[in-house]
């Protein structure tokens, strides 16, 4: 299972290409599809990124919603309907579609934020605010990691 860690800031060139961090590519080396899957975040001006194989896990979790429920439909529409599959070029780059770049407010510096089994892409400047917010939430709500059951 891929595990994405740390934050890498890479430049978007005028063709819309960005290097996917080498560390992230390593985590994806065993994947059948050599590339990433992206869609708009539901909560932030950012993009959610996954390994192709993880989309199956998302599908499985969506089935936990009531079939035909409004929520299931909405999620499925945004997640599957609007996701894009981006293949690496020979240098490990992907081309960010313009509409996704605009959605995330990515200008020139794209920040890849590792979040475990997924990652996010932020505009580098915008990310700082998000960071402070996340830190505050963790502290104020006293969020901790439950021991839970192994998945």
């Amino acid at each position: 299972m891929a595990l994405f860690l740390s934050t890498h800031i890479n430049k978007v060139d005028k063709k819309g290409r960005v290097s996917v961090p080498a560390q992230f590519r390593d985590q994806l080396s065993a994947e059948a599809f050599q590339g990433i899957v992206l869609f708009r975040s539901h909560a932030h001006p950012a993009l959610e990124g996954f390994a192709w194989s993880y989309m199956e896990e998302i599908s499985r979790r969506l089935e936990n919603f009531d079939l035909f429920s409004a929520e299931q439909d909405d999620l499925a529409t945004t997640v599957f309907g609007e996701s894009v599959q981006l293949a690496f070029d020979g240098e490990g780059r992907v081309v960010l579609p313009v509409d996704l770049m605009q959605f995330a407010g990515v200008v020139e510096q794209a920040a890849f934020v590792g979040l475990g089994n997924k990652f996010q892409i932020w505009d580098a400047a915008e990310l700082e605010k998000r960071r402070t917010e996340a830190r505050r939430n963790v502290r104020d709500k006293n969020l901790t990691l439950p021991k839970g059951e192994a998945a």
Copy 2:
């Protein structure tokens, strides 16, 4: 499970490299990823160090949250997004990123402090102050070890 004990002080060279104490490396010899994971301590001017497998454990626990939930997002952003993955070189060293060194105030002498399943990296001088403080707390508040349940 790795068990980090005692304190080792090693030098940071001008390339930013430090030898990870051999005792610590021994504890990590069974790890799939040969290296360490670091992030900023929330409580001290120091860095927290873990084995890769420990991050996998955290990742598993995060999977118990709903996908895209705010809690999952906040935790992952602070824990995974702000961590770095550092591989050993042939001599068992890692390169400390400059921003992390600055955060911990590490100048030249890095102190590796074993804390059980994790360890901390302090500036050697700063650590002395922390030590006296910790001793005083234990004495004044009469801290003891609870029997507790095994984790």
